[in-house]
Symmetry: C2
Subunit: 141 residues, 2 copies
């Protein structure tokens, strides 16, 4: 590999990490909304905000972005609901989160650290890596 293509590759890695990061907020919110609806029958902005550890205007802005990206719907003073696409994302994210935690635990990471780190790590686990994680967990069984 030439020095030039090495530079290109490195830049691509940083770009991929930036892209993954820009999806992180959408992923966490869709999962959170789905959780709230499952547990309480509805997802109110105030509950979303408390759960995410942000103020309610911040949560409202995030919901606006979810709607703009076709992941959620809501009407003024009513709860937030996920579109099919949003629900699909929530499901994917939930599964991936669990797999990441399970892999960390299998590697001997303490449970509390595993949960803490997984919340950030999950967004940078590609499909390829996720598949490898699943294989690993099956072998470990």
């Amino acid at each position: 590999m030439t020095e030039d293509s090495a530079q290109t590759d490195q830049a691509e890695r940083f770009n991929q990490a930036r892209t993954a990061q820009s999806m992180a907020l959408l992923e966490d919110y869709t999962e959170m909304i789905d959780d709230l609806i499952s547990e309480h029958g509805e997802a109110r902005v105030t509950d979303i905000a408390r759960q995410m550890g942000v103020t309610h205007p911040t949560a409202a802005k995030a919901v606006a972005r979810l709607k703009r990206e076709g992941l959620a719907v809501s009407r003024p003073y009513r709860g937030v609901f996920l579109t099919d696409e949003g629900a699909a994302m929530a499901e994917r994210v939930r599964v991936r989160h669990r797999i990441v935690v399970d892999v960390l635990l299998a590697l001997g990471v303490p449970a509390d650290a595993a949960e803490l780190d997984a919340e950030g790590l999950e967004h940078h686990v590609s499909e390829t890596t996720l598949a490898a994680f699943e294989d690993f967990l099956r072998r470990q069984g």
Copy 2:
């Protein structure tokens, strides 16, 4: 655990992930500058920019932040240098990056995916998790 403290814990996880993310840029740039100095004897803003996959004003702004945080020094139209603190960060980051890649490889992740994902994952690996990773690699060894 009460429902209330579960909410608090969850919010803390998101906060930790946000904090980790805010360190990511500093970590990647210090490592990059250290690399460039090792390989070419100096770290110029243009080279940093190309390597990071951003425009030069973006890299210059990042360098300004590094200086503000005491990690780097530079004078107008001269290269960028790391402080002792910056160099220490670069070294930590480099070691951690390699460990993350090694763990992924040991789990059966293809090499290219391992390198791609590691660039984002590394910033969310806590000291505790890193220690567990090192133990795992030693056992695997």
